[in-house]
């Protein structure tokens, strides 16, 4: 009677010991100082079911794990390994030393690196920082841009702007239906570097500002004459609109030559297109 229970306890203890032994490596997997190499071990994960009906099938064929000759030679045993070196325990928020993360400026040949989709650690999605009835506008160097209005109850109304003409919209952002977009264009002669706009969302009035990408004035005209007449254009305000920005814009008025740009507004910074923490890259 004692023996079976003893065996059970022994097995459980052995399992615990195994888990303890493997845990540090698992925790360190996403640290670049330990070039973890998966060698054709996993056929990756199953492709996730697409969330939308027609966004389908990205098969993740991680099977071929050919490692280029130039890649660090890992010792391969068919499982995730950490090469000899300083043991690194990755914890949340820990960053690798910059030198340990080589980044190729240009990569013309495919750098065969593996990614292990199976590993996930703390990868909870970012929180939703949505604020209803808020808005901001962005105008690019060419004088075109977009007003973005957060209005979860439906399309905003009574959009009124200063120095801008609404050329299209409203359209919902394809990524988040709570956001509405209006295409805008700067009216001729407007030289402000910011402009207010307003709208109504579910009966509530809202106010926002439009940011302009700056065009470097072609000449350094030092005789700045503040303009007192502002091009207050209530752009595309529907009839009956009562909400008009009451700002008076006073800015120096060099004659701006707006370049023809193909990307109407160039977003600043990188693009946030990964939250799962499942991919690893080494270049």
């Amino acid at each position: 009677m004692k023996k079976p229970l003893g065996r059970l306890a022994g097995a459980v203890l052995a399992g615990a010991a195994l888990t303890l032994a493997s845990a540090p490596a698992a925790f360190a997997q996403d640290d670049p100082t330990t070039p973890v190499e998966t060698t054709a071990t996993s056929e990756s994960t199953d492709p996730p079911a697409p969330a939308t009906s027609d966004s389908s099938t990205s098969e993740t064929t991680t099977g071929d794990a050919s490692t280029p000759a130039s890649a660090p030679a890992p010792s391969t045993t068919g499982a995730i390994e950490t090469p000899a070196g300083p043991e690194v325990q990755t914890t949340e928020g820990r960053r690798a030393p910059a030198a340990a993360k080589p980044r190729a400026a240009e990569e013309s040949e495919g750098s065969e690196t593996d990614q292990d989709a199976a590993e996930t650690t703390d990868t909870s999605a970012p929180t939703d920082s949505y604020t209803n009835n808020a808005g901001h506008g962005f105008v690019g160097l060419g004088g075109e841009g977009v007003l973005v209005i957060a209005c979860a109850s439906g399309a905003p109304g009574n959009v009124a702007t200063v120095g801008l003409t609404v050329t299209a919209g409203p359209d919902q952002d394809g990524a988040d239906g709570r956001y509405w977009n209006y295409d805008v264009r700067v009216v001729d002669g407007f030289t402000g570097t910011t402009a207010p706009f307003s709208w109504t969302c579910d009966g509530q009035e809202g106010h926002g500002d439009v940011s302009f990408e700056q065009v470097t004035p072609p000449t350094s005209d030092t005789s700045e004459t503040p303009t007192t007449s502002d091009t207050t254009t209530s752009a595309s305000s529907p009839p009956g609109s009562t909400s008009t920005p009451d700002t008076t814009q006073t800015t120096p008025a060099p004659v701006l030559t707006r370049p023809a740009v193909q990307v109407r507004y160039a977003p600043q910074g990188g693009v946030e297109t990964g939250f799962g923490g499942t991919a690893r890259f080494w270049f």
């Binding site: 004692k2 059970l8 960053r95 650690t121 394809g174 990307v263 910074g269 990188g270 297109t273």
Partner: protein, 198 residues
């Protein structure tokens, strides 16, 4: 007596295992969200209906998705599909329509919701690989990869990605590099540059 000790040891061991397994795989509950009266999602019933790309397909990596049209968020960054739909790609609609002269921008998640995303294997593309785009006017366009870069997000190459070009080009953007757990974000972007095939 001995039996009791053995049982206690087994229970302790099980507890250790449970704790260790939880460290790496169980989802960390999202920070308590403040009370938000607005719904967390709203169906898109009035999307952009102008000329636009409708789908992207990259045979080499088996990626195929419809394309939603996105603009920017309130911070002026490109709006991206929900992390809960990592297989959804998007076209940045303030960039040219693919096939027009200029750099058309298409983006997709490398992963999300702990699953691979539509551009999970984007980094495996090499020069000459094919990228197919369908448009709302029925045109089917074929692009070929020219080159690929991996860059830190805080050094994102604005000019290379968004500047004017003299011919129809395509930019495919996703995330890469080290995953910053604190920020729930990768540190780099992968950018694939492609040209319209003759």
């Amino acid at each position: 007596m001995k039996r009791t000790k053995l049982a206690a040891a087994a229970a302790s061991a099980l507890a250790v295992i449970a704790v260790l397994a939880g460290c790496g795989s169980s989802p960390t509950p999202a920070p308590a969200a403040a009370a938000k009266p607005a719904p967390s999602s709203v169906p898109v019933t009035k999307p952009f209906k102008g000329l636009r790309p409708t789908s992207v397909s990259i045979p080499k990596i088996g990626a195929k998705s419809s394309l939603v049209s996105v603009a920017v968020n309130l911070e002026g960054k490109i709006s991206v599909p929900s992390v809960k739909t990592p297989m959804q790609a998007a076209w940045y609609r303030l960039s040219p329509v693919p096939g027009e002269v200029g750099p058309a921008v298409v983006l997709g998640h490398v992963d999300g919701d702990k699953k691979p995303g539509i551009f999970y294997k984007l980094k495996d593309l090499v020069p000459g690989d094919e990228v197919d785009i369908d448009r709302s006017d029925g045109k089917k366009l074929k692009f070929t990869v020219d080159h690929l870069t991996q860059v830190p997000k805080d050094q994102f190459p604005q000019d290379a990605v968004y500047s004017n070009s003299t011919k129809p080009e395509l930019r495919l953007i996703t995330c890469g590099g080290v995953f910053d757990h604190a920020e729930h974000s990768y540190e780099d972007n992968i950018v694939v540059y492609a040209n319209l095939a003759p």
